[in-house]
Amino acid sequence: MSATDAGAPRVRSGTTFGRRSAAAVLASPVLTLLVLFAAPLAYLTWVSFSEADITGDGSFTFDNYAEVLGEPIYRSVFLDTIVISFTAMAILFVIAFPLAAFLAFRAGKWEIPMLLALVLTDELNPLIRLYAWQIVMNKEGVINKVLQGLGIVDEPITLLFTKTAVVVVLATGSLAFVVIPIYAALKTVNRNLIEAARDLGASWVTILREILLPLSAAGFIAAIIIVFVPMLSDFASPAVVGGREGYMIASLIEEEFNARGNWGVGSALSFVILAISGVMVWVSIRISKVGRLGS
């Protein structure tokens, strides 16, 4: 894109419509952002440093953060959340990469129908999906029926209301969001590069490691931002299929706000989620840069 801009010197970048009206064009979106996004987050920050509860304001305090970071119960939920979402993310990448590669290189006339099917799964209602998985993983559910029918297990196994159930639901619920960005990145890979590597005797493992993975790094980063961050916010999945065992930070926050009315602690916990997602995004961007320099 920048190359074509540079190739056409007559077109000076970004000046088609002059400068003065920039403010006029951007005023309403920026105002919306300030009032409905920035202000609430600023106030939430204040609440996390105050003794506020549902009744109103309190004075300044560090107690909420001390409680959130000090209590062993919270710490174990943090750990569970990180384990659950990392496992789900790892599974997602393992399933999504071959699917994306197939879609980008081998699907042929099926490429567009498959892409449409993936986009469709984006639009299907996530709560309905959760409910469907609840039925699938039931003691009487399909998985148990199949396992028993094949004689693999005698008694129905407990799937529902475990960490595994939450991982399954998180990994399957976001598949499309991971496949599509990786597909988009792979689509930009020059096919001749792969042909050349193959002709020079590279095994498919080498092609994967040296060409496809580094060049689709942008897709992986996009997937982490689109999928991993929302996973940390998700309290519907733990609530519907996780039960007591598959508890996540978001479940704690929902409880602090709705059941206990403890807004200070709830807000502090929200900023823990923000911190984890920020670190995650930063680390993945760093890794992708290091990887690109290395190759």
Binding site: V11, P29, L33, P40, N125, Y131, V142, D199, I226
Partner: protein
């Protein structure tokens, strides 16, 4: 050239090493490899579709099964759960509210998002990068923070939670999504066409109306589908800003938490899923037609949009 010859030679050497009748064997190896890859692809696709669509098909099956419990023994065909579901006032209201909120927020998001995209992609001013990043923030910040932030703030300024508060929060998360899609489309647009229009004496208004907007129609349509779907399916933000009003995702969630009247949920879930499939398919057909008309690839519109 020499390299290519060496490569070709290397290939022959490797081929002949595998046996005296090298040619058929090589062909066989290639065929077998092809077969293995095809089988692997088939398994992969089957597993993928099963994971993505299996659960929904199961719900559809259960919704027609004349049984109160979630069993897979087929007890006969029935439509009574559909009748009960459609007669359920709470469900109808929640569905109606969700459609109204999505229907009203989508056009507002389209306007705000397109303005942002133009501001970011077609103007130069100091701090443009910062403004672009700030406008994209609602897509990156976990939606839980948006939801609880809105909850505490609306309570602080004494705005009672209602469908309006839900709609407002849907707008602030939805318009950056539109911005992302339209910005990507604007960057893909051949700028020399804009210059040509101006050189040929078009006013800026005519440039917008006759050159840019027709080009943007497919991108705007794609954005509209994404935002409408996002709003309708949104749970986290909706849950914290809805108060005592009824919205579809929140209604399903409370049904699941209480575990009551589940066959009714089967029926309505199947209806909503079927509706989504039909709407997405129609939208896609229209999208493809308008994309072809303005010479764009529907794949870039769909996959290159949100992911840039």
């Amino acid at each position: 050239m020499k390299q290519a010859e060496a490569v070709a030679a290397g290939r022959t050497v490797r081929g002949s090493r595998s046996g005296s009748r090298s040619v058929p064997k090589v062909v066989w190896t290639i065929r077998r490899r092809e077969l293995v890859t095809n089988a692997a692809s088939a398994v992969l696709l089957l597993a993928g579709s099963l994971i993505l669509f299996g659960p929904f098909l199961l719900l559809a099956f259960l919704s027609f099964n004349d049984s109160q419990i979630m069993s897979f023994r087929f007890d006969g065909l029935t439509l009574r759960f559909y009748q009960e579901a459609l007669a359920d006032e709470a469900m109808r209201e929640s569905l109606r509210n969700s459609l109204i909120v999505a229907g009203l927020t989508t056009p507002i998001c389209l306007v705000l998002g397109t303005l942002s995209a133009f501001g970011v992609a077609r103007f130069t001013f100091r701090g443009r990068g910062g403004v672009a990043a700030a406008l994209a923030l609602p897509l990156v910040v976990p939606s839980l923070l948006v939801g609880v932030g809105a909850l505490v703030t609306f309570s602080k300024v004494d705005v009672p939670l209602s469908l309006t508060t839900v709609g407002l929060m849907h707008i602030v998360v939805g318009f950056p999504l539109v911005m992302a899609i339209v910005t990507a489309a604007l960057y893909r647009f051949d700028r020399s066409l804009e210059e040509a229009a101006l050189d040929l004496g078009a006013t800026r208004r005519e440039l917008l109306w006759y050159v840019l907007l027709p080009y943007l129609v497919p991108a705007l349509a794609a954005a509209a589908i994404f935002v409408f779907g996002w709003s309708f399916n949104s749970f986290t933000v909706t849950f914290f800003t809805v108060g005592s009003e009824r919205m579809f995702t929140v209604w399903v969630f409370s049904r699941l938490r209480q575990g009551t009247n589940l066959p009714l949920v089967n029926a309505i879930s199947t209806l909503v899923t079927a509706g989504t499939v039909v709407v997405v398919y129609i939208a896609y057909s229209l999208l493809r037609r308008s994309a072809v008309r303005s010479g764009q690839d529907v794949r870039t519109l769909v996959a290159g949009g949100p992911a840039q």
